[in-house]
């Protein structure tokens, strides 16, 4: 009896602890309401994302999780259109070009202010672009065609080019050319980027590294009535499951990149809108032409022809994508739909193999990063698909950092990689992918087709749209015939939002404009 009393007390004390924890603050209420007739001001939106940002220094940072945030703070002279194929005036209202196509005079939008209320002038623009040009370990290369920047009047900026440069406006729309205050507003570069400031719809609040980053409404924003939200918080939630549960539990309003396997389920979840935005993401199988037998075009063609891209789309993306026909994605200007590429055809693959230097097959290694189920699925399917050609594929898994290092150092036979566009012009991708003298050595493949390389550089300085289209058609057709990579599939950007979120749109380049987003009550 006495023992029972002790037990009861012990159980009660444990129960009290649980109840105390449960009652110490209330959980969020659930349920959704329908949208009102128009945008509503107010609200704090939370985006759960897959990785943390690295830095707010737009001139040196390459990771998307930083870029998509500081794009809400800094703005560019031109911005990408919603279809990702062009630019539209943003902090500039227009430009004039000289007869030799080497001098561009931009007129700045009047009345644009930084989030401290100070008016933006041409001195700020000149300073910002000059900083980017100087960033040797960052995005300086994107502005290599620029000879100098002048600020003759507070509302006029003149950019002098070394040579005519077709992608200039696209380059200026790159976040790295975002406008910051002249001389960082009197701060050092480090101080400024710890508390950045720009003309964008939101201004800096805080960043708890590895946890959450919050921006609040910029009261001086130049688009009247925008932004609608009081604040946006990006939280770092590594687990796909947790992000989805947070969305369902009302703790977050936007789930960045839910797992492909959950997309179908999320589409039918009440109170959740599943968005699949067109993207420029293209996945590839790279062949290292520094290793045998991948110098042999017939081997590369055979492998490209033996890959059933439709099966990959089904297995990896759960049907949420489509087979790739070009190394350029459809959302890029000058993409050529008519280029068929080398699509699945086992008979043709065998015929190519018979013409190759290894007609009876060979043994090779496919390098993939560990811990990535998508890569493992692709590798396993390829292992099976290449067997009929007599190709024995050994899958080599290394931790992502090491796998990436080996790919860049060309210590691989075959490996998987992908690309997303930074600018609405094919130049950056094309140079990266086909020029063996670029830093990337033709996407780390050592592919070298002199005519293709020549045309890639000719297209940079060709201002005629039709002539550029012709050049890029040639490049795409020959790159496909050379099979320097096997173009696998195009996939969309997946975002799940609660039904209270309105106006959220992601361009094919991955950017989003949070000034257009609002939350219904």
């Amino acid at each position: 009896m006495a023992h029972r009393f002790t037990m009861r007390k012990a159980l009660v004390s444990a129960g009290v602890l649980i109840v105390l924890a449960g009652c110490s603050s209330g959980g969020k209420s659930g349920g959704t309401t329908g949208a009102t007739s128009g945008p509503v001001h107010g609200g704090n939106l939370v985006i759960a994302r897959t990785a943390d940002s690295q830095s707010m220094n737009a001139t040196t940072v390459f990771d998307n999780e930083s870029i998509w945030i500081f794009e809400q703070i800094y703005q560019t002279l031109y911005t990408v259109t919603n279809n990702g194929k062009g630019v539209k005036p943003w902090l500039a209202t227009g430009y004039k070009v000289s007869s030799d196509s080497k001098t561009y005079t931009f007129t700045l939008r009047p009345g644009v202010k930084f989030s401290n209320g100070k008016l933006m002038t041409s001195a700020d623009v000149k300073f910002s672009i000059d900083q980017t040009r100087k960033a040797a370990k960052g995005w300086g290369y994107i502005d290599t065609a620029i000879k100098s920047v002048d600020a003759p009047t507070p509302s006029t900026v003149v950019i002098h080019l070394k040579y005519p440069w077709a992608p200039l406006l696209a380059d200026l729309s790159l976040f790295a050319n975002g406008i910051v205050p002249n001389n960082y507003g009197g701060k050092t570069e480090t101080q400024f980027y710890n508390h950045p400031m720009g003309t964008g719809p939101f201004k800096w609040d805080y960043w708890h590294k590895g946890s959450a980053l919050k921006l609040v409404r910029n009261p001086y924003y130049w688009q009247k009535g925008k932004p609608y939200l009081n604040s946006v918080t990006w939280t770092y939630v590594a687990s796909d499951n947790t992000r989805e549960l947070q969305l369902k539990g009302g703790q977050t309003q936007i789930d960045e990149f839910p797992a492909w396997s959950t997309v179908s389920n999320l589409k039918s979840t009440p109170g959740v809108n599943m968005h699949l935005f067109n993207s420029t993401r293209t996945d590839y199988l790279l062949f290292n032409e520094k290793r045998k037998p991948f110098q042999d075009v017939h081997v590369r063609r055979a492998i490209s022809l033996a890959i059933n891209r439709g099966a990959l789309v089904k297995a990896v993306l759960f049907g949420n994508g489509r087979p790739a026909n070009s190394f350029m994605p459809p959302q890029v200007p000058y993409y050529q739909k008519a280029t068929k590429g080398l699509q699945y055809n086992l008979a043709a693959a065998k015929a190519e193999m018979a013409k190759s230097s290894v007609p009876h097959g060979f043994s090779t290694t496919l390098l993939i990063p560990s811990g990535t189920s998508d890569a493992t699925t692709v590798a396993t399917i390829m292992q099976s698909e290449l067997r009929p050609l007599g190709i024995k594929v050994n899958i080599k898994q290394l931790d992502p950092n090491t796998a990436f290092l080996d790919a860049q150092n060309q210590k691989y036979d075959m490996t998987l990689s992908y690309w997303t566009m930074d600018i609405p012009d094919p130049d950056e991708l094309v140079t990266f992918a086909v020029d063996p003298n670029s830093g990337a050595k033709s996407f780390f493949t050592s592919y070298n087709n002199p005519t293709v390389v020549q045309d890639a550089h000719l297209a940079e300085q060709t201002l005629s749209t039709s002539k550029r289209q012709g050049l890029y058609n040639y490049i795409q057709a020959h790159a496909a015939a050379d099979a320097f990579m096997a173009f696998l599939y195009y996939s969309p950007y997946a975002y799940a939002t609660t039904s209270k979120v309105h106006g959220f749109f992601v361009t094919p380049l991955g950017n989003y404009h949070m000034e257009n987003v609002w939350l219904s009550k």
Binding site: A2, H3, F5, T6, M7, A10, S13, A14, L17, I18, L20, A21, G22, S24, S25, G27, K28, S29, G30, A48, D52, Q54, S55, F62, D63, A136, K137, G138, T190, N194, H208, K209, G210, S211, A212, T235, Y236, V237, A238, S239, N241, T242, L245, Q246, G249, Q251, L398, D399, P400, N401, T402, F404, L405, D406, Q408, S417, W419, F432, G439, A440
Partner: protein
């Protein structure tokens, strides 16, 4: 030897432990392949850009020279700069420490809150149905992977009942108490079976001791008998088990932190390893090493608090 001398000696022992940890971690992390510059630059990595970053970070120096620089900084309380964030590593690590400490302490408290009553239930009716139930049912917690238990708890208590947030750390003491309940409970469910078994076994030993029979025959009230004589004597082996498990837990919170999006030090460690953020990895490992030593020290001190026969000179 007095208690303070004992504590001081154990704290002095931290120094060789910390130095040993730094040597092992420093050279291991530099021996594995991978380059932080390439991680940060991504596909935009060119030899020129990589060289510039290596020079900026001092990675172009010989390894021994880099280690000496690290130790020199450490002697001045400086853990260096995070290569990924470009900010000092010390505030980065210290800022992530409280959520992990919350998780560990909260989990330990919950594990005790679960274990003591259940071990009591089992020990007081040895071989009865309830004893078997207590011995078997908690083992499910040990057998189920924590990530699965965590998701089940979230689904039941955060999504359906909505009593707790799905994840996060919360704000303020009560905010932490509320937000960290599910992660702490997940850890406690895995921790409790071991503690229950240890506590039950030692309770059975104590209950069979002659001094308990004597106390009973002298008419010591059951509650007092249990709390003063049985529990106090039985808890010492359980404290050892708990101490060892918490030591393991310090380095193993990453899964729980990942599931519940707790911005703790375990998650920072894993991310920093993938990014090859050497200063942060070294700093976090050092903190882990110090914490494990401190937890063991606390366990030793608690023996003396629980049992006056324990002396510090043995």
């Amino acid at each position: 030897m007095g208690r303070m001398t004992f504590v001081a000696r154990r704290l002095v022992m931290l120094v060789p432990v910390a130095i040993g940890v730094t040597i092992v971690v420093f050279f291991l992390i530099h021996l594995i392949p991978g380059d932080p510059a390439r991680t940060i630059l991504g596909v935009h990595a060119t030899p020129q850009r990589i060289a510039l970053l290596h020079k900026q970070w001092g990675l172009n120096r010989p390894l021994v020279s880099q280690y000496w620089l690290f130790m020199d900084r450490l002697a001045h309380g400086n853990l260096g700069q995070s290569l990924f964030y470009g900010t000092p590593a010390r505030p980065l690590i210290l800022g992530r420490l409280p959520p992990t400490l919350w998780l560990i302490v909260y989990a330990a408290v919950l594990a005790i809150a679960i274990s003591v009553p259940l071990a009591t239930i089992a020990a007081t009716r040895k071989d009865a149905v309830r004893d078997h139930l207590v011995r078997v049912v908690p083992l499910l917690g040990l057998g189920m992977p924590p990530f699965w238990v965590g998701i089940l708890l979230i689904d039941a208590l955060a999504i359906h009942v909505r009593a707790f947030p799905v994840s996060g750390y919360g704000n303020g003491f009560f905010g932490h108490l509320h937000a960290m309940f599910l992660p702490a409970l997940t850890v406690a469910i895995a921790l409790a079976p071991v503690v229950i078994r240890a506590l039950r076994a030692s309770m059975l030993n104590v209950l069979g001791a002659e001094y308990i029979t004597t106390a009973r025959s002298k008419g010591v009230p059951a509650r007092r008998l249990f709390l003063r004589h049985v529990l106090r004597n039985a808890v010492i082996p359980a404290v050892t088990v708990l101490g060892i498990n918490i030591g393991f837990l310090i380095g193993g919170t990453v899964i729980i932190e990942n599931i519940f999006a707790v911005p703790g030090i375990g998650q920072l460690m894993i991310n920093s390893i993938f990014r090859r953020d050497f200063p942060v990895v070294q700093g976090v490992t050092l903190v882990f090493g110090v914490l494990v030593v401190l937890v063991n020290l606390l366990a030793d001190l608690s023996y003396a608090a629980l049992d006056p026969r324990v002396r510090f000179d043995r």
